[in-house]
Subunit: 241 residues, 2 copies
DNA sequence: AAGTGGTCTAGACCACGTG
DNA sequence: ACGTGGTCTAGACCACTTG
């Protein structure tokens, strides 16, 4: 946890700030890479690292022979990319979020589905956590988590009521590095109907996540089942050429 | 359109091939950057460009002080990232896809919603295209496209029946460079009920896309409205640290 | 201590767009 | 012809992991 950061990241953050506050207006060109090299007293490759980050995150569009065009982000009220999280939802609705733990158990013999999803060996045991997320008195998300016990020796109801991730990262020093997600729409199960306030909705949006640790080992499978009216996903896709 | 490609891309493609066919097995370490520098007779920065691409596309996980771990992709039958396209859907169902053009019109005075979505000036005109996509006799996708006429002088029903994108790229030399997408679930409109075979489904998945050209100008807004059972989206998210 | 990836440099040549 | 971004090089030092 150091405060120091790399040179290209500080340049990136500086430019993001200037784009966000309008100092560099939309549709205009950024200074050329050569000029930025002078401005920031650094090498061109370092500038290019910063600009590539800007491009990947949707702030600029690089055009060969022309320059880097600032994309008009003001027209988009939504975040750059990703699932709109439970916390953001709660903030927007100005309501205190609440988490209910319905089940916390250690599965000694996981069934075929879970064994397959988590790529388990015969003797691996699995934590099963079932929680609902509540906003404004409505249970709108059902989270079903399955965690390989190999990486998580113990788990309590209190941890589940707060944030499992914080516990993993701060207490166990497990670092989540990436996840693969699949989004589909399904019919509600009887479990969905029982635990969620579906209020007449006939579908749920299901986000299936496979979560990996820093060493690329798969340790968690999660199904996050959302009431469809509270679901929103944002994607930013650069075209492959 | 040259066949030549950059050195780091050929290295990337070589490594992807070796990972896919198992020559470099999952969970194993890639040769170190130094070794790869020798193998491919190039500089380390070039190797690193190739490895960064592998990392971004979910093939490896780089760990400082340790090496690059090959991620087990065989366990995922789904593509690396993105919306599962109409064409892929049709292929999977072994069915001929069909496109029906329901409306093709030039809007002289766009309404407020479209003016806002496309950031139009007072005199901009807009092409409106409404199409359905049909697989196995079922109309499962309703596409509503709005294109700024400034960039697309003419448009015919025949073009819309095939691919508008191919027309734009091959005939008009317009290059689509990136898109921002938003995914939400909505109640079907009367238009959805009329044009799609909803078969009792009570929701539609709506993908709202803002499509930009190479020079970062916004030229198209599209709503792609899917029957929920035929919708699937895959995301690969590297964790920001 | 040795090996790994992360950052950074100061050059070089090339491909592309504009005047 | 000139300026732009795209690629590539041969070094250097640092931070981290492992023996």
């Amino acid at each position: 946890m150091s405060v120091v950061t790399s040179k290209y990241l500080t340049i990136y953050n500086t430019l993001v700030e200037q784009i966000k506050n309008g100092a560099i207006p939309p549709q205009s060109l950024l200074p050329s890479e050569h000029e930025l090299t002078d401005q920031f007293q650094t090498s061109r490759e370092t500038i290019r690292k910063a600009l590539n980050l800007l491009s990947q995150n949707g702030y600029i569009q690089k055009v060969r022979g022309k320059g880097s065009i600032v994309i008009d982000i003001t027209k988009f009220d939504f975040p750059v990319s990703g699932l709109v999280s439970f916390k953001e939802l709660a903030d927007k609705m100005e309501s205190k979020p609440k988490t209910n733990v319905h089940e916390l158990s250690l599965i000694i013999k996981p069934d075929h589905f879970i064994r397959q999803q988590l790529q388990l060996t015969a003797k691996d045991q699995v934590w099963k956590v079932i929680r609902t997320r509540e906003i404004g008195g409505n249970k709108i998300i059902l989270d079903k988590d399955f965690l390989n016990k190999k990486y998580v020796p113990s788990l309590t109801e209190e941890i589940c009521e707060n944030s499992i991730y914080e516990y993993l990262e701060n207490e166990l020093n497990l670092n989540i590095s990436f996840a693969k997600k699949e989004i589909v729409v399904e019919e509600p199960t009887s479990e969905d109907r029982e635990l969620l306030n579906l209020e007449g909705f006939h579908n749920v949006v299901v986000i299936k996540s496979y979560v990996f640790l820093e060493d690329a080992s798969l340790f968690q499978y999660t199904e996050s089942r959302h009431r469809p009216d509270k679901f929103r996903f944002v994607d930013f896709a650069r075209r492959k050429h």
